[in-house]
């Protein structure tokens, strides 16, 4: 039997297994985080890692990182990692959880990320009751970018964007995210905790674990808001910053549980028959409202999306001479209403029909009905690296400003198709071919000025000689619904081809 004195020291608290041993962010300092001394993010990271360890879910956890000081989650957590665009972590987490229902998905976000740019994403993820865990690190400021005011900034608090202190009259009031989201019916659990003193810190560790546990048990959306010190931007020592959380921040952001439906949902979950299909259900939290159909199998997706073999149009790939090298980079520019985008769409759709790689990228200003608009189209036999066309081999300029904007970008041996009788003399360049005709008037002769775009497209097709006529016809029919317009556009295309051929005869 062991005696009283037979005792030894064993490790009670040490680096969590869910952290990497070394952080490969930089060459040096691989044993330290990038956080400033005393940063609350580090504390929250440790609590999450510990909770993952304790729940035994490291091998199925997916961490969705934010933009902000918490951006480097993927360097620290030895789990599945995704880094979302600013504020979009709950949307990304939704996709992760729905496509991999067995995973444990954490959306890690700062207060700028979650409550400013990402306010829509968090609201709707919570309202849908996604079975994810959101860890919301609220330090009342945009820290990473040097201290701009966030929706959570306290009244009177100075920041680079509120140099005289936040003023409710001009900047609104601090946003209480936990309270707001608690008005929704779907969330399972919402709690605000702090890192202001030992008692608060211990409670934060419990709350974070609980938030994850809720997800493991399939109870639905959990959000843990952590009032977290940022000594650097607050310009306080780490200990002062900790006290500021307790003495000042907590007065504005009351700690506590704001929503807890875990008990009723646990009972519901217990009542459910063991159903292997139910694991694909995002959450048992809102079973009454949601269809309980399981997620479709991967093989069914093409059919659902309408891109299964049998759904796709026949295509005219066979008609394309296979020895011809094709690399069209077209920029089409004009003013709004001239049909610039449709021009590009027909071209791209026809390319697709002919079995080519294509890209179509519209680029237009905020004006819907006036102003300029242009689009980039690429057609190639090779895969396309970028949809941007910065040096076109064909420029279609539907008016003079558009010509002047892009004419210098056209490649040597390229073409400019210009809508105008007179091609401006100062735009003439060596080695660039020009087809300048009054396309608007020519379209008017066919019956409608608005068909000028198709006359110009006809000319382009004749110049390039790259696409089978059948592909063009099919593309036109798919994109233009009105039969009267299809008929007019077909004549316009033919007229364009003819005009180019006539121009050759004249030379």
């Amino acid at each position: 039997m062991p005696t009283e004195t037979a005792a030894e020291y064993v490790v009670a608290q040490a680096r969590a297994r869910s952290f990497y041993e070394r952080y490969e962010r930089k060459e040096d300092l691989q044993h330290q985080t990038h956080f400033c001394p005393g940063c609350g993010h580090g504390v929250v990271h440790k609590m999450i890692a510990k909770a993952i360890d304790d729940l035994g879910v490291q091998d199925r956890t997916i961490m969705v990182g934010p933009v902000g000081c918490g951006v480097f989650t993927y360097y620290y957590f030895d789990v599945g990692n995704v880094q979302a665009a600013h504020g979009r972590a709950p949307a990304v987490a939704t996709a992760m959880k729905r496509s991999r229902p067995e995973s444990i998905v954490i959306s890690y976000q700062g207060d700028g990320d979650l409550s400013a740019i990402g306010s829509a994403e968090i609201l709707h993820a919570a309202n849908r009751g996604e079975n994810i865990t959101v860890i919301f690190v609220n330090n009342a400021i945009y820290s990473m970018t040097g201290g701009q005011a966030a929706p959570t900034t306290l009244l009177g608090m100075k920041s680079t964007t509120t140099p005289n202190g936040r003023n409710a009259a001009t900047d609104g009031y601090p946003l209480h995210v936990s309270e707001l989201l608690s008005t929704l019916q779907a969330p399972a659990y919402i709690e605000r905790v702090g890192l202001g003193d030992n008692k608060q810190i211990a409670q934060t560790a419990r709350a974070i674990k609980r938030g994850l546990e809720n997800q493991v048990r399939g109870l639905g959306f959990s959000l843990i808001e952590v009032l977290s010190p940022c000594p650097t931007i607050w310009k306080l020592t780490p200990v002062e910053a900790q006290h500021w959380v307790r003495d000042v921040m907590e007065k504005e952001f009351r700690l506590g549980v704001f929503c807890d439906r875990t008990k009723e949902r646990t009972e519901k979950a217990d009542l459910r028959p063991a159903d292997p299909g139910s694991s694909s259900h995002p959450s048992v939290g809102t079973p009454d409202l949601r269809p309980v159909t399981p997620n479709p199998a991967l093989e069914e997706l093409p059919r659902i999306l309408g891109v299964a073999e049998e759904d796709l149009p026949e295509g005219n790939a066979a008609a394309l001479a296979d020895n011809k090298a094709i690399d069209l980079e077209v920029r089409i520019a004009g003013f709004g209403g001239q049909g610039v985008l449709l021009f590009g769409e027909v071209l791209a759709e026809a390319g697709l029909d002919a079995g080519l790689e294509v890209s179509w990228l519209p680029s237009y200003g905020p004006e819907m009905r006036s102003g300029t608009s242009n689009c980039h189209v690429r057609l190639s036999r090779q895969s396309i690296d970028s949809p941007l066309v910065t040096a076109p081999n064909v420029l279609v300029a539907m008016n003079e400003p558009s010509l002047r904007k892009f004419d210098k970008s056209v490649r040597a041996d390229g073409w400019v198709i210009y809508n105008g009788q007179e091609f401006p003399a100062d735009c003439v360049r060596d080695g660039v071919h020009v087809l300048a005709l009054p396309f608007t008037e020519l379209a008017d002769e066919l019956g409608d000025k608005r068909a000028a775009n198709m006359v110009m497209l006809g000319a382009l097709l004749e110049i390039a000689g790259a696409l089978p006529q059948a592909s063009i016809d099919d593309a036109l029919r798919r994109l233009v619904k009105n039969p009267r317009w299809v008929e007019l556009d077909e004549r316009a295309l033919a007229r364009g081809r003819e005009l180019y051929r006539e121009s050759l005869v004249e030379v």
């Binding site: 985080t33 001394p37 609590m47």
Partner: protein, 104 residues
């Protein structure tokens, strides 16, 4: 993983190890420690930080300094356990069981 203590003297319930290279000297562990057995080292580490220093005695093994510290592995807390518990823990660990929780 374990460290023996002299059996004749009264043993502390806990022990602390601070990784001087990982510690950033924020002082949050000093603030957190109930029996106040951590202080700031006068000496600077390799990176120019003053780092936390354990007094060498008086730790209760409560673990609160560990969770208050922002660095993943700057602090390791050990706790004194009797032999029977040691066996139980070893068995538990072998099953991949959870490690001890700090809040007591």
């Amino acid at each position: 993983m374990t460290e023996a203590n002299k059996p004749d003297q009264k043993q502390d319930r806990g022990q602390l190890r601070i990784d001087e290279e990982e510690c950033k000297g924020c002082g949050l562990c000093i603030e957190a420690c109930p029996p106040k057995v951590i202080s700031m080292n006068e000496r600077l580490n390799h990176y120019g930080y003053r780092t936390a220093l354990y007094a060498g005695a008086g730790c209760t093994g409560c673990g609160i300094c560990f969770i208050a510290c922002p660095e993943p592995g700057a602090i390791t807390v050990y706790r004194l356990v009797r032999a029977r518990e040691v066996e139980a823990r070893v068995a538990n660990a072998a099953e991949g069981g959870a490690s001890e929780c700090a809040s007591n």
